[in-house]
Assembly symmetry: C2
Homo-oligomer: 214 residues x 2
């Protein structure tokens, strides 16, 4: 990340590349977009600009995730501190949902990070970057521990399965709402805050659902 030759111009170029890559990956998928296309979309005459400034596509994706995660995790840290040692499932689920929706609301539509996240999470080659950079922060782990401490006792397979279901819901509901806003399509809820409230209700219902035998 540190380049002693880095000037203001180099930093500006990096930002252009990050923005172009995030948008292209969000709209077309990670696998469908080459580093060359990112360089061109960022207005770089030199088609190897991504390689020069970031390295591999993996490094580029990590830099995009990191840029947003720093701010999302700051919001989450504040929420987790405010929740303290609550035993209310809804409060802990809110700590997992709201930092992303608040951050997107603050950025203002159109945003791309929601769809970018969905593309990265559905690509097995890159998913681990997202998990490592944004789903393993201290605040996420604290919120997960808090949630686990007030969930009913669940068989391990059910716990793993519901963790997967909740992750799918969060990733894709946020991506779909972002896409609808960007395309001027109707959304069930008027604001990110209301959408988050509905998503939290659904996630709580999912975690608390009775477990059927076969």
């Amino acid at each position: 990340m540190v380049r002693t030759t880095g000037s203001a111009r180099s930093a500006a170029t990096r930002e252009l590349i990050l923005a172009a890559a995030e948008r292209l990956f969000a709209e077309h998928g990670v696998a469908a977009v080459s580093n060359r296309q990112v360089s061109e979309a960022a207005g770089q005459g030199n088609n190897t600009a991504v390689g020069y400034h970031f390295g591999s596509k993996t490094d580029l994706i990590r830099a995009i995730v990191r840029k947003h995660s720093l701010q999302i995790e700051r919001l989450r840290g504040e929420m987790v501190a405010a929740v303290g040692d609550s035993s209310d499932v809804r409060e802990w689920v809110a700590c997992l949902v709201c930092p992303s929706t608040r951050y997107l609301a603050e950025l203002g539509s159109p945003t791309w990070f929601g769809r970018f996240g969905a593309q990265v999470m559905t690509d097995p080659a890159y998913r681990e970057i997202m998990v490592a950079e944004s789903l393993s922060s201290a605040a996420v782990l604290r919120a997960t521990d808090g949630l686990n401490s007030c969930l009913p006792d669940l068989p391990l397979e059910v716990r793993l399965e519901r963790r997967d279901m909740v992750r799918q819901l969060m990733v894709h509901m946020i991506a779909e709402r972002e896409r609808a806003l960007a395309d001027g399509e109707p959304t069930p809820r008027a604001s990110w805050e209301d959408a988050a409230s509905g998503l939290i209700d659904g996630v709580v219902g999912l975690w608390m659902a009775p477990v059927s035998g076969r």
Copy 2:
């Protein structure tokens, strides 16, 4: 669909193209794969084979969806008839979840239709094909009516939002399980039947969740 020149050889070519397209779309996304690439993967020397046998990419996708939907909807029709006029939310949710999981179980891994469905449903240009061909069948409508008749009264925005959440859950949980099986990765549940049971529990919990005010 009807070609008077259609011989057994033409029917076999169509099947080769359908299978190649389904796999390529499932693994790379619909937008990332051209009709030319499908023709090549199907072993057709003539790169315009897709156009000759199916027409546009939209027509090709519709043919893939239809091929599987006919069988899935037959299973659903049987389930809906057996459920009758039940007022049990879980039975109606099962009518929406199980036909797909049973069909994939019958085909045996590796399958591609689960991932194909997720790719089509996340592509706004093609989503409507899937909705029109497979989510608007008589049996789906009957199961949806049955479910609605036994759900609690929900504000319209919450009903729409939960319908979206349930759709995301079904599409992506099935696609992820199919991918894990194909890649030899671990899955929380040992069988499609158990995975369906867990998914139904989660969907029921989501539909029945209390609605929070702001």
